[in-house]
Symmetry: C2
């Protein structure tokens, strides 16, 4: 029997026993209330708290290979002189290596899932399968990229079945409005919907993208995509930095999920995410790291802190007579934690994001003895604002501990 | 003999042997070029890189006790309803405990020094002495605070001598223009200068502070302090968020050191630090964490990343026709690293901040095998943008390893 008993773990401040079997939380009771015999393995979790694990909704995992390769420069130079020439030389073995680094980094920093958009996806799938985490692997669609060979990919999709029995899903990933024409955008969405696949894309990451889209189509990216029938509850849109109030309403109405990537947006000066509009719209907001070459890590906990701080910094303050101050009440720790956990899980149809009987057993054990978790007036605040990966004693995905407990 | 040989450590990419004796780097040579017999202890540092350690120039260390105690609220409510009532109940033993947590956290995240401003300083001094790090301990001066008892403190200063033989200095810390009147500000600066003590204060942290100062004195805080003869090369001014171009020139001319505290400014919505003006002025800029209750950690490496990202996010972009984008070239990794290392050391007269023969031996050993440091196209970029405290294999202060290597 595949089962583990987490003994004496703190759940919402209460010492608890949690039985995990067949990948789910099968029983939760007070500490000492579940017999050790009911599980194949017992883990003494004294001094640890259990919280939901993180779901990273926008990544280009293998770009870890370009971590620190080109920083602190304008986007066009970064892409033309560094990223694209580097990518032109990548082999499948390189992608495997880059994916390994990415997956290790994500697991050790508390993510159990990532939504990816890159090339040579067989390599990334192989790593995810072996290391036990979850992923939504994007089939990248672009008009002109040496690595995006459409016919072969469609063939791949037709013959693919998830080797992990539920941890990996394929999604269609038309890259953006500026790299995919209207006909291909429409056909890709249709193709995905016919097969029940989700759709992962970039929307309004930069002001230039919006300017050019306006010039070419007479519409902003959100309105343009909506006019193509592209938007829907199966769409996960990364960035959405340059989105106006009416567009937020369109995204919310269509049920689009937004993946906010604070580190990347800040580092390459894409613009300031409109937190107030986004939150007011009621859109489902999730968090992504983006690729490590524009972040430069894949630590979604750090992403939570960045988002919560940036929201308070760039928002309009409650006292509008004082300029250049923000609203410290915007995006509290609990809310950004929900973005990174339950919202991310829901967007990809994963029944996680909560420690409750019947839910899939994706979770983190937090080491309350770590100095950054002390004192512990508020566990979620400490995790969002104070912790780092050192505080994560174990990452549990699909009912299995996938970190090395002895690290 | 108090000496250690760091064998085969990477220094600027070159495998090196580094002999540390009597608290300084006494000899640096190629790996294998220094005889193991020349040191009392040999540390095999294969796979580690050596870089300068971090100097945290603004802290209220014992406020770790309030970590996560009150988040996501406006400043006045935070202070009146939470911080001040909490502080009223603090005992010297509490301050000792809070300082212990702070010091452990700083050492494990790479800081060898902090400039502190709090109460019951004997407690903090005791912790710093025992744990082997450096500190500039502020004698807090305020007009009305139950814990700031002036006469006793002056007596303390007269009878104090550094028990560590050089790691601890006392500084005068008149809190701010809104908590200390002009006469006391003037006398405190004079007192400090007569004794060669540095002066640590808050300047222009919030827009409200500037508004009130204007109302009461007809001047902004920088101009007001300058009119009192307060500013000089011995002053370390925390925050300086609401400082205009002319004021930056005043600060630069007087040789004032600024302690920028990005996390705290963002979290309590103090305002957006004017990176472009600050950098253009030529002022010496350093980094601080501020207290853990408004951050909520004391990790200056995280502070470097926050500053570098925020600068790129809130600055004016190179293409001014595109609004709401910043300048990705502003505050590159190397520059913010200098803020956190050499600039901080220099501001407090510490001959550190560089790995060179003759300098004091304050340094970090970075574990290059950590997944967040891989690949390593650029060590400083990786440390600033990708690392977390897990990547720090050892913190060396005053020639001694003060972290537990086996952690």
């Amino acid at each position: 029997m595949n089962s583990i008993l987490l003994h004496n773990v703190l759940l919402n401040g209460i010492p608890s026993d949690i039985l995990v079997s067949e990948g789910r939380f099968s029983r939760i009771a007070g500490a000492g209330k579940i017999s050790p015999e009911s599980a194949a393995e017992v883990l003494d979790a004294t001094g640890k708290a259990i919280i939901p694990a993180l779901y990273n909704t926008h990544n280009h995992a293998a770009m870890t290979l370009m971590r620190g390769f080109a920083d602190d420069m304008v986007l066009q130079k970064w892409l033309s002189d560094y990223v694209w020439p580097f990518e032109d030389k990548l082999t499948p073995a390189d992608i495997h290596k880059g994916s390994e680094i990415a997956v290790e980094e994500m697991i050790s920093s508390g993510s159990v899932f990532f939504s990816d958009m890159y090339f040579d996806i067989e390599q990334t799938i192989d790593v995810v399968e072996k290391r036990g985490m979850r992923a939504a692997i994007g089939i990248t669609v672009m008009e002109n990229h040496s690595l995006a060979v459409e016919a072969e990919k469609l063939d791949f999709i037709e013959h693919w079945s998830d080797p992990t029995g539920g941890r990996i899903q394929l999604v269609m990933a038309p890259h953006s409005v500026y790299t995919v024409g209207p006909e291909k955008l429409r056909r890709t969405a249709e193709y995905a919907r016919n097969r029940g696949m989700r759709i992962h894309t970039h929307i309004s990451e930069t002001a230039l993208e919006v300017q050019n889209c306006l010039k070419e189509t007479g519409m902003t990216p959100v309105r343009y995509l909506d006019s193509l029938g592209f938007l829907g509850p199966d769409v996960i849109a990364a960035h959405c930095v340059h989105v106006d109030e009416e567009e937020w309403d369109i995204l919310a109405e269509r049920g689009v999920t937004v993946s906010h990537c604070p580190a990347s947006n800040m580092k390459i000066s894409s613009g300031r995410f409109p937190y107030e509009l986004a939150i007011k719209s009621g859109c489902r907001i999730t968090l992504g790291t983006d690729g490590a070459s524009s972040n430069n890590n894949l630590d979604l906990r750090e992403g939570m802190k960045l988002a919560a701080l940036l929201a308070k910094c760039v928002s309009a303050g409650p006292d509008r007579s004082l300029s250049n101050i923000g609203n410290p009440e915007l995006l509290p720790a609990e809310e950004v934690f929900r973005w990174a956990t339950r919202n991310g899980a829901e967007a990809f149809g994963i029944d996680g994001g909560e420690i409750a009987e019947g839910r899939v057993a994706d979770a983190l054990l937090i080491d309350l003895s770590d100095v950054r978790m002390r004192p512990c007036h508020n566990l979620i605040s400490n995790f969002v604002y104070s912790a780092d990966s050192r505080c994560i004693a174990a990452t549990i995905c699909d009912g299995k501990i996938i970190t090395d407990l002895c690290r």
